[in-house]
Symmetry: D2
Subunit: 357 residues, 4 copies
């Protein structure tokens, strides 16, 4: 009998259920005896031993369902070693629950922060396999994370909708796109949506060069411009600040987010009417797109295969269209950024997209 | 030879092109000779004589296209009688251009404000036919306006996306929905999206009763709640204020919109984590839904039929699934509100939806 | 304690779950004590007493789910009085199970055939409330059935997809659309999709006039034509045949459906390349559109309200945007057809759509 | 002055316009002087000198438009050397028109057949750059072709719709998916749609093993099964036949396509009710998905860059997420098949998908 724990951790995204379904179907279908323990709301479930034993039917019909049937929560890595309000040592609690339930392994679907905790559990002797979950696509060790392409579709659809209204009114529109500290989502949705200007954290922007690009379009008789702006976009000026200085500066910001600040600056510099759209959490919701469902199915099967071989300590990623395993210690704590001189950036510039640099 | 002017005025919405296509196809197909003059950017085009003579092919392939091929702009009714920067009398200019071009009639696609100007032009002796354009569905004299159902689809999709993330995280989410001063869009999208609480201008809310509804759900073990909130939603308190008092109070508001104010109040009263999503201008963009395309085709054909009969001075509406003409003087200046005791409200309450009253 | 049976009967369609959810939420929320008995696979479940007692959570999260959580099956009305293979009298069995379970009432979601059986059960003394389920929109006594607008969206999307390929290749395309014996679905999807020719059962077509319309378009330089053809479309010739003659003629038909026969005839008469697309069962699948979700919520609430008043023997319909109850004996056995001279037909003709008459 | 010809050839697919837009925007934006000659309806336009000089605005707003603004047609390679009805030598005519217009290069968007002709033109001394267009994804020399992922989305949506109706009725459904002689599209859509059985040309199927898989599911209490079947799927028996024998056998087939034959066989062997859906040409229509738009933008920019360098004779492909150039002589005449033991096949089998082998 194999006993496998499973949990989803951090911000939710599309295709979590599709991934768990694939792990579960592979285990149920290829092992004589297996029991899957679903921990509720991420690491919290493991800490407080809040779980239910799953049935095969729990994983049926969830391929296309958004969200996660296990629930999730954010449990910051830096608080993992800090005892909870009742003095409970969280890491020890997780280890104890794992042992008590006689688990053979633990499947963790998580993003960047969750991988640090996953690696910690591995260091503490638990058998851990992780799967790369995030719309940000910022996990080191894999070309793609699931959720990324579903989020691209939603963000692109937002730009598509804005396109017709921008064109009708001759306005400048900013669409603010998620992605945390990296620009993957904004870059792809921006190109797919035909944005004129794309601002991402990896390429700090110069506000004058952004304004100039908008003016140039107006001078060419183009009545509107669309900016795809990453929530993490940063000006050249701010990029020079220390982390502390930036934090202090931002704490004084009167705008709810970068787009509003940018919008005010552009309006001042160009005199053009600006509108701002922030699709926000919509980008992580709804059913996974077909691309993500295939990716999730492949990653989940590969994860289950390692479990069947009792081979733990890896994140399952995909590289050059092949599923691959990456040692957890290599993944944890690293971010994968867009390279400012990547071919896709060069191609986007050839087509006429401005990055404000 | 019949010469017909055409313009789209006010905020854009879906199905403007589908409607113009229908007018044009009907005129081209049923009249020996017809010339359509497309004025650019709404009344502005008529004021400054900025037009182009359209070709049948201009109306080809636009049934599914969002926005408006003529462009649009907002020209507030109350400024119509105020001369422009160069001292030009706008109303006289419109009349003169109409006469100079020897137009037989003018087709105006517009919302509430645009209908006041349309009626003014009628009073000034122009032959006017209007078509009810707005995602707000607030035009008097018609059961439905085109754009409304397309916007419902986008707003509902926003709630759908939010649903999965709200359920996964156990959060309270506010989705702010357009609709100007009326609640049609929020009411329909809220019911379609399975919102737990719907707040619309026509039913002022009591913040305590809203908070109580959220707490009740939490007490029943429901981990999340979704609020569909109209951009024009108003508290019972504020509803008692005079227009002037309200304006003054709102001018001091630190929140970008009602949702943020409401969110802060709910967080304080319930202790629950709140997230806010504002799909904004997305709601008026993108291709029209099939419902709107059928509606637009019907309204456009009926408008063209009146033109063919030289019968002017009406808005074309739809009542009980029949296209109908309504005298412009009856339409102008009136809003169609949701009735607080309408059957649909009663049914929504039966299903368990709270309106905060 | 109120005990209510529930079943879904006949071909499935979108919004069955949304409708049941509304009935259930209204009953659970407004009655002290209620038990809902879900019969499996339509009348079959009632005949063979195959049911489960539902929980409130069974109806949670199903607003957007296609299909039916109860399953469905076709049980032809004309076989209801014929004993089954084991000699069981089906009608008596249904009555007995109803009594044995001490049901207070029975909610039946069904289409045309299912309403005949529902009325029979009413005549036999059972308390029955029905809800109008069908993509065909052919139920007498209601302006709309749920499923109809969701199916319009799918059929319209099929035409939209075909549009771009037809235009690129300059081909004549036939899109065959469901709808059983009536033309509602084809009429609406055809107009929404911008079809050039629409053929529906209510307006028998003349093949020469269809071919002439295609040739006329070609002569005008239009490289393609799109025909939206109802699965029940019929030629003028065939419309004159008796039921028996038609059946005999069709039994000899070498084509899988009307579209193929029509396609061959058009190819012969016009010399143009024809392609045929049959989206088929796709049209009844997938999530309900927002329009249907609102309709289902309203109908379901109104049905539950009657149950709460112990007022049985009706179908809940919608007329002029108000939910209404219609005596079952008036509904059963009647079809609602498109009127060949309805305003919508007249408007479609004005826009240039040909009906082949 | 650079003069560049452009044409789209063969069956249309999504993202043709997006690709041409990218080529054009890159050329217009980076060259002092450039003229683009758009040949109408594929090679036919080049043969008969049917072209128009494009304007930058022709490429504006077409990123999301399905089809091709240039039109397309199939011109079989094997007829290229055969004179036309008027004795015209097609290849010589193309060469002559190319010279007469003083073209510097020719951009051809085409699939497998079109690449043979493109290579022929290269051999005849023309400067040719090609772009890989097909929903089949069967072009040698690139990981991906544009159109492929858009078609996956449509085919997957078809399976999704069928899923709910199959589950409600407990039926076996066959969804026939395009893909010509290869299984890429069916494989991806099948996995994404959660098909139970996937049949592709590269893995000939055994009808008994297909029937056994369906029976096994029924025995496990699963009321329905979904088969994703490639239009080119082939039985083990047929796979052993010579090309000639197969052609002869198929010419006698009474079924319109493989799905109908398969359906009849399964019905006979399992006794289960079978339904068949053939989305057909829908799969190549409608707007490109965001994935394809990004791909097209990248490929188009890379193609234009080669033109700017006067470096001809290549197809632009993508390998490991980098655009790449592949000599035309290597591409022409080769198909890229799914490898029967590819990792994705292995992973699909792990999850429980049956391939009938």
């Amino acid at each position: 009998m194999k006993r496998i724990g499973m949990l989803t951790s951090g911000g939710d995204c599309q295709s979590l259920n599709a991934t768990m379904r694939s792990v579960a179907k592979t285990l149920y279908g290829n092992l004589e005896e297996v029991e899957i323990y679903g921990f509720q709301e991420g690491y919290k479930g493991l800490i407080y031993n809040n779980y239910r034993i799953m049935k095969p039917s729990d994983f049926s019909g969830i391929l296309t369902e958004g969200g996660t049937i296990l629930g999730t929560s954010r449990q910051p890595f830096k608080l993992m070693r800090v005892p909870d309000a009742n003095g409970l040592d969280k890491v020890e609690a997780m280890k104890e629950n794992y042992r008590k339930l006689k688990l053979n392994g633990l499947v963790i679907l998580g993003g960047n922060g969750s991988h640090k905790t996953a690696n910690l559990l591995r260091e503490e002797g638990l058998n851990v396999i992780t799967l790369p979950k995030t719309i940000d696509n910022d996990l080191w060790g894999t070309d793609l994370t699931f959720g990324f392409h579903s989020a691209i579709e939603i963000a692109t659809n937002a730009i598509d909708c804005i396109h017709t209204t921008a064109a009708s009114h001759g306005r400048v529109f900013i669409v603010e796109i998620m992605g945390h500290k990296v620009g993957w989502l904004t870059l792809h949705a921006g190109i797919a949506g035909g944005a004129d200007i794309i601002l991402i954290p990896e390429i700090p922007y110069d506000i004058d060069s952004v304004a100039a690009a908008i003016k140039k379009r107006a001078d060419q008789g183009k009545r509107f411009s669309i900016l795809a702006v990453a929530e993490g976009a940063i000006s050249k000026e701010d990029a020079k600040l220390s982390k502390k200085e930036l934090k202090e500066k931002r704490s004084k910001r009167i705008y709810p987010s970068i787009s509003y600040e940018l919008g005010a600056q552009i309006q001042e510099k160009t005199g053009q009417e600006i509108r701002i759209t922030v699709p926000g959490h919509m980008q992580r919701g709804g059913p996974p797109c077909p691309f993500d469902r295939v990716l999730s199915t492949r990653l989940g099967a590969a994860a289950a295969e390692l479990i069947m071989k009792d081979d733990y300590g890896y994140m399952i990623g995909i590289k050059n269209d092949r599923t691959t395993r990456v040692p957890l210690e290599e993944v944890a704590g690293k971010l994968r950024y867009v390279e400012p001189d990547a071919p896709i950036i060069k191609e986007a510039k050839l087509v006429g997209i401005t990055f404000g640099d």
